[in-house]
């Protein structure tokens, strides 16, 4: 099974592990990530731009490429996933799609209008819904037995709940089920869907630090020894805050359990 894959900018720089292990684990799990050709920034950095159309164009190009390949578009980074999934939802509104398509017509390779046809799927969702956590569990060679891992969702993966439609934003289970599939023990703690401080890290580093510390403290108080996340920005803030808990990407954890990490050591 081949799927279109959108890594996003951070996975090429700060979060290379997130990307590398996602690709390698996919091979073990029996699917292949085909990187969208010439992908551009998802638009995550433009969220405060006043032009609502221009910010969507780069996402729409990736979505359109996946549509033409006849594949679902798989994302890994929470921020990219949030932007692309929301853009895709917006493209289902004909009035909005008409405006965006009018821009797109100026692209040299434009063929037909895009109206939100592509299925946008986060890597975790793909594991849960297409591969199945049971199947993932079967492929585990190094079960993470005895490890107490706290899932950190942050905000972008789950909200807005209606559009993201991944899990209950107030009481999610997908990462806990994932952790369980790898043989570890998930730690449920209240701050797991609180904000890490996000882009506040730039303007007011102290405020961001406070937020991140409250997350890692809450996890530690509930007995967690490590944190796992899908979001590069969350990881950045958590690590920067001086959290005593190690912070891993979920694909790193997966690679460990599947034996991919040691194979690539």
């Amino acid at each position: 099974m081949k799927v279109s894959y959108y890594p996003g900018c951070t996975l090429r720089n700060k979060a290379k592990d997130l990307d590398f292990y996602a690709r390698e684990c996919a091979k073990v799990l029996g699917f292949e990530l085909e990187e969208v050709e010439d992908w551009q920034c998802c638009g995550g950095a433009f969220t405060s731009s006043s032009d609502e159309i221009a910010t969507k164009l780069s996402s729409v190009r990736a979505l359109k490429a996946a549509k033409e390949a006849g594949q679902p578009l798989v994302t890994v980074c929470s921020a990219c996933h949030n932007v692309i999934k929301r853009t895709n939802a917006a493209m289902k509104d004909p009035a909005f799609a008409a405006k965006v398509n009018a821009y797109m017509k100026q692209d040299k390779d434009f063929t037909e209008d895009y109206n939100g046809e592509t299925e946008v799927c986060h890597y975790l969702e793909y594991l849960r819904d297409k591969v199945g956590f049971d199947e993932v569990a079967k492929k585990v060679v190094n079960p993470l037995t005895g490890r107490k891992i706290a899932a950190y969702y942050g905000c972008l993966l789950l909200r807005p709940g209606k559009v993201m439609a991944m899990d209950d934003p107030e009481n999610p289970v997908i990462l806990e089920d994932f952790i369980r599939a790898l043989g570890a023990e998930p730690v449920v703690y209240p701050a797991r869907n609180e904000c890490c401080g996000g882009y506040m890290a730039i303007e007011n580093a102290d405020a961001a630090k406070k937020r991140s510390l409250s997350v890692s403290e809450s996890a530690a108080n509930h007995g967690a020894a490590e944190l796992v996340t899908a979001c590069p920005l969350c990881r950045y803030n958590l690590v920067k805050s001086g959290s005593e808990l190690p912070v891993l990407y979920f694909t790193e954890l997966l690679a460990e359990a599947l034996g991919v990490k040691e194979a690539n050591a």
Binding site: K162, D168, E170, N171, V188, P190, A191, E194, S218, N221
Partner: protein, 664 residues
């Protein structure tokens, strides 16, 4: 040709202010069929009505057109006037030249022109009117009340008091409803049981009232005055006529760990149980999902300990069909489930409870014997946070909650806060609110007492998140007045959950063809003037099934519904509305379109034999209208593709004549 009299009303200056009434009566005098036309200051007054009566006699009128206010206002008045002068009341037409003309126009010229046109249309219609006679149907002098909460109880008692037999159908093993679960009642703080249980006993002892508990309505046929209702008596595996309610079985049953619904699952009951001490009827019921004997034939303890021999493991559901003249819906409400509100950690912590659970915790007959103890560890809580509007006024999250205000939460939260501070002065009590809404007699004074005398901390703002940390509940909230974030370490969080109609209401509405709003509350016939009647004749509304209500309001509405039922049952015969649908069988193709659109279930189909021109007979399927059920809405006449369906008094040709007259 009719001999028509036209009577133009000034309505003081209401009409005459913007319509030249003299010009209108002059113009209409020239219309075909008109033999007399006049105008008068107040047509509805005694003098005005006398003008009509005299003209009928003098000019031998056969039709009347009154150009006045809306027919909703005075059609009945003028029909009576006509009838007293010997004309069929359905030969009267009203041209509404007030609401639809003088009140909306500022210019006399246009107002007058339009009034003339409206009068012309009414004249054109009267020319085609035919006398109509309403039918008569007998009334079964017995009422059915569906739901045995305080609403159903009060309605039944009031109807029985007037001497009519009443049956109460209650789906639970006992009557009493939500009120039986409450501790104290606002604003007087008298105990709910003390005022409710005597009424329950009255119901049980009243000779005119039968209680079908643990029963449901499964089918409703018929129409106002003549309903046929099928009631399913669910098998309770205990013979109601023999059981003495001694409770021995409920102490010996080995199945002990079943969540007790009466205490909202905060303690347990046995598989054979009596919901609470004052249950009516006070008989045991076996829960078939948990009884070992019923599940696998191994047990039979209750049968052994029952000295009365009331246990019957072979009982089956029974169905009985009864006749009723009127039906009262009193199906009540439920708090909405909290599973979509995980930000308040209801599913994660036992110490986050709903207000109804709080009632049970405070109640002397509740799981803690009336001591306020944390469900998780049985400790006495010191800091309590009450959150109002959980799921109410939830415009942005309609898929989670309700858009409407649940109305009762402000008052019962004030009550809870006050009672907590009164009984346990060592507590700190916080109430988070969007608005405090306390209209009602002695209601606002009650709330102010909570704040001023009992020192309850009322904070305007919503709680964003409740996090269980250790044995505390960390409450994050905002104070909108001081514009700051608040963090409270609470021991107990109480959620004032929105209320919604009981789930049984929707299927019941379908059976009754009674209309509902988008929230599944029953719709009243008129929101102000007919608040306790459903638009479906013979169906009445009592209590929270019609909208959120507190106890005083529910009791008031229950009494009002009862008085409407009594008014109906007092009659020996019901006069129908003769303006009903009537199919032309020769044109009817039997397509069922009319049956599908009829909101009242008045149309059925029959196979009927027709004689053909060649003297052979042919059986065809044709529509048949039950005139007692038909409300004359006209949906079927529009849906009928062959033009076979017509509405008496509003025939297609009459409507077209009106349109032609307007367009002339």
């Amino acid at each position: 040709m009719q001999r028509i009299g036209v009577f133009v009303c000034h309505c003081g200056t209401n009409i005459a202010g913007t319509v030249n009434v003299e010009a209108v009566s002059d113009a209409l005098r020239k219309e075909p069929g008109v033999v007399f036309s006049t105008n008068y200051q107040y047509m509805c007054s005694q003098a005005g009505q006398d003008i009509i009566k005299n003209a009928i006699a003098e000019y031998k009128l056969t039709g009347i057109v009154v150009c006045s206010c809306s027919p909703r206002m005075h059609e009945a008045t003028f029909r009576k006037t006509a009838a007293s002068a010997g004309i069929n009341p359905y030969m009267v037409e009203i041209a509404n030249i007030r609401e639809q003309c003088s009140w909306v126009h500022k210019d006399t010229l246009t107002g007058t022109e339009k009034a003339i046109i409206l009068g012309r249309a009414a004249i054109a219609k009267v020319n085609l009117n035919a006398p109509l006679t309403p039918g008569q149907t007998p009334v079964t002098k017995r009422a059915l009340v569906i739901g045995g909460g305080i609403a159903g109880i009060q309605t039944a008692l009031d109807i029985a008091d007037a001497g009519f037999p009443v049956d109460i159908v209650e789906k639970k093993p006992t009557i009493g409803g939500k009120m039986a679960q409450l501790d104290k009642t606002f604003p007087t703080l008298d105990c709910a049981a003390c005022i409710l249980t005597p009424k329950m006993v009255d119901v049980a002892q009243n000779e005119k009232i039968r209680i079908f508990s643990y029963s449901e309505v499964t089918e409703v046929h018929g129409f106002v005055g003549n309903f046929d209702v099928t009631i399913k008596k669910k098998a309770r595996y205990v013979r109601e006529d023999i059981c003495t309610g001694c409770g021995a079985c409920t102490e010996k049953c080995p199945q002990k760990k079943i969540p007790n619904e009466f205490n909202l699952g905060m303690d347990t009951r046995r598989a054979i149980y009596i919901p609470f001490a004052q249950a009516v009827p006070k008989v045991a019921t076996i829960d078939p999902d948990h009884c070992n004997m019923l599940k696998n034939g191994k047990c039979g303890v209750c049968s052994k300990v029952c000295t009365a021999g009331a246990i019957d493991y072979n009982a089956k559901d029974e169905f009985l069909t009864e006749k009723y003249g009127a039906i009262v819906v009193a199906t009540g409400f439920n708090p909405i489930p909290m599973d979509k509100f995980d930000e308040f950690a209801y599913s994660q912590s036992k110490d986050v409870i709903t207000s109804l659970e709080f009632e049970r915790l405070m109640n002397a007959a509740g799981p803690t014997g009336g001591k306020l103890l944390r469900p998780s560890d049985g400790e006495h809580p010191h800091t309590l946070v009450f959150v109002q509007c959980v799921g109410s006024r939830c415009e942005a999250c309609a898929e989670k909650g309700k858009e409407y205000c649940s109305k009762i939460c402000c008052m019962y939260t004030a009550k809870h806060a006050m009672l907590t501070r009164d009984k346990y002065p060592d507590t700190e009590v916080y109430v988070f609110y969007i608005d405090v809404r306390t209209p009602g007699k002695n209601f606002d004074e009650f709330y102010r007492r909570a704040v001023e005398e009992y020192g309850v901390h009322y904070i305007k703002g919503m709680v964003g998140k409740v996090s269980p940390e250790g044995n505390k509940l960390k409450v994050q909230a905002s104070d909108l007045i001081e514009n700051r974030q608040i963090h409270i370490d609470a021991d107990l969080v109480v959620l004032a959950a929105a209320i919604e109609p009981d789930k049984s209401a929707r299927p019941l509405a379908t059976m009754l063809t009674a209309s509902m709003d988008t929230n599944d509350f029953f719709t009243e016939a008129h929101p102000k003037l007919r608040p306790v009647e459903s638009p479906t004749a013979g169906v009445f509304l009592s209590g929270a099934c019609q909208g959120p209500k507190d106890i005083p309001e529910t009791v008031a509405q229950a009494g009002a519904a009862a008085s409407k039922v009594i008014g109906l049952l007092c009659k020996d015969q019901l006069t129908g509305n003769p303006c009903v649908a009537h199919p032309d069988e020769m044109m009817c193709s039997g397509c069922s379109n009319c049956e599908k659109v009829c909101p009242y279930g008045a149309i059925t189909y029959v196979d009927k034999e027709f004689r053909m021109p060649d003297r052979t007979t042919k059986v065809r399927r044709v529509a048949q209208v039950n005139e007692a059920v038909c409300q004359g809405c006209g949906c079927c006449t529009v849906a009928c593709m062959s033009g076979a369906m017509d509405l008496k008094g509003f025939k297609n040709e009459q409507i077209f004549a009106e349109v032609d007259a307007i367009c002339r």
